[in-house]
């Protein structure tokens, strides 16, 4: 067990002590590369968040990768049907660790207006470990950014 006293003493000698996890988490928290999945209206907001007025690139999260191998964050922006479930599961499995899931919009959170349908799952958290929920129908880009910043705080260990 490293004592606080020892750390203080090192700091006096101009030696900064940190854990590697802190640096890694700093890197990870500031560069989520999203992989998007969606149906119709939430992806439109997703596109708007990438465009000039809102600009997701300010936070450095604009690198949308088409290949799950290079993505860190799965943005589920739409209802997941029974038929689509194995595909989403497979895409999630193809992403390399560490990976996160953001449920965007009411359909992804609970099935939304389709939740009573025979073919629609009541939310993607029935089979995916969702980290952040962004409610709305569809949520505005600001709401998505707030969700991303919440996820950043989570990765940094601030909550």
């Amino acid at each position: 067990m490293v004592l606080e006293k020892d750390v203080k003493m090192l700091e006096k000698n101009n030696i900064i002590v940190t854990t590697l996890e802190k640096i890694w988490n700093w890197g990870r928290a500031h560069s989520f590369w999203p992989l998007s999945y969606g149906c119709n209206c939430c992806p439109i907001e997703l596109m708007a968040s990438g465009a000039a007025r809102f600009d997701i690139a300010r936070y450095g999260y604009e690198v949308f990768r088409a290949s799950p191998r290079q993505a860190d964050l799965l943005i589920v922006a739409g209802p997941v049907t029974v038929k689509m479930k194995p595909v989403v599961q497979r895409v999630y499995a193809q992403m390399p660790e560490p990976k996160w899931v953001l449920a965007m919009g009411n359909c992804a959170i609970s099935g939304g207006p389709f939740k009573d349908g025979y073919s629609v799952l009541p939310g993607c958290d029935t089979f995916l470990p969702v980290d952040v929920y962004v409610p709305g129908c569809p949520p505005r880009p600001e709401a998505l950014f707030n969700g991303l910043l919440e996820l950043k705080a989570k990765v940094l260990g601030q909550r």
Partner: protein
């Protein structure tokens, strides 16, 4: 000013004399110096790429009326560092059905080839690592080897998108490599040498871009295709092929490909500066600042093209290369030869 001009050459000489004083033979001292030069180039390339990626993201933002990364540090300059840390610590996935050896060596081959290009680039007056007497030929032939690495990546991944991307890279290479070589031939005819230092010395009075404007334009188009950059980024067409030849690569293996592409970008831009814009020649500033300045200006034009033009179709590029670029470069060669003969 004299001291600044020869700073790096003096430094190298100092190191060699110091090593020889330690009792090393001149040969060993030279080898040690080569190793130091390689480490310097690797460091320059890495720092350069971190700046370039940040610059590209910023400039793409400005072109699209956005701000670009601006949260991490002033103007977002730490953004690329965060990305690099994340990529270094990602899981390294090697799918079970891949050809393991080829899959693993492809990124290494790609980055090694792109680093090999830097051997002949004269960074300043007398600052090429090796001033080969066939430097241009070396540059063209080594530069075209990168396609093999892409083919290895596509084949080894055992993925249809990867293979399609690799096939496209090869088809593209066949069509752009010939006009690329032909466009440089005009410059070589005027300079009368394949040696980089001779070519730069021949541009004492006038830059070759004014004597060979057609050759410069064809070189620029062919070089854009060689770099797999937009509008010719068919091997990595995200909308059609997921990520082309890189589809199955994750984490640092993918980052190596990315690194190599930007390494190539700087090498090709420096080559354009050497062949058409007088290399390290320039007033006031030391020569080893002029080449990076010219290369960066050329790279900005590459960025500008990429973020302005839409991707063209594969067969359009091929027919454009075969039916337009090759005849144009051939006519340029004939005219250059006639004029040289006439004014001899």
């Amino acid at each position: 000013m004299r001291g600044a001009e020869t700073f790096f050459i003096d430094l190298a000489r100092l190191i060699v004399t110091w090593l020889e004083k330690q009792g090393m033979s001149p040969l060993v001292a030279d080898i040690v110096l080569l190793v130091i030069q390689f480490i310097c180039i690797a460091a320059i390339v890495t720092v350069n790429i971190i700046i370039l990626i940040w610059l590209e993201r910023k400039i793409s933002g400005f072109i699209q009326q956005r701000l670009g990364p601006n949260r991490l540090g002033p103007w977002g300059i730490f953004q690329t560092i965060a990305d690099a840390i994340k990529l270094l610590t990602k899981e390294d996935i090697i799918p079970s059905q891949t050809d393991k050896i080829i899959f693993r060596t492809a990124p290494i081959v790609f980055i090694v080839i792109s680093l090999m290009l830097y051997v002949v680039i004269p960074f300043g007056d007398g600052m090429a690592i090796v001033d080969l007497n066939m430097g241009v030929l070396y540059f063209i032939s080594v530069g075209s080897l990168g396609t093999i690495a892409l083919l290895m990546a596509g084949w080894g991944s055992n993925n249809k998108w990867s293979l399609l991307g690799a096939m496209r890279a090869v088809a593209q290479m066949i069509s752009y490599e010939i006009p690329l070589a032909f466009s440089l031939l005009g410059v070589i005819m005027i300079a009368g040498s394949l040696k980089m230092s001779d070519i730069i010395a021949a541009q004492n009075n006038v830059w070759f871009v004014f004597l060979q404007p057609v050759a410069f334009i064809t070189y620029f188009i062919a070089a854009t295709a060689e770099l797999n950059r937009g509008p010719f980024d068919m091997p990595e067409a995200e909308q059609e092929l997921t990520a082309g030849a890189y589809t199955e690569y994750s984490g640092m293996r993918w980052a190596l490909f990315f690194l190599a592409e930007y390494t190539n970008l700087f090498a090709v831009s420096a080559m354009a500066a050497v062949m058409f814009f007088g290399g390290w020649q320039g007033p006031w500033l030391p020569s080893w600042l002029w080449l990076p300045i010219k290369a960066y200006i050329i790279m900005l034009v590459f960025f500008w093209l990429k973020w302005t033009l839409p991707r063209i179709r594969m067969d359009h590029l091929m027919s454009f290369s075969w039916k337009v670029l090759i005849p144009v470069t051939l006519v340029n060669l004939v005219v250059t030869g006639c004029v040289l003969q006439f004014f001899k």
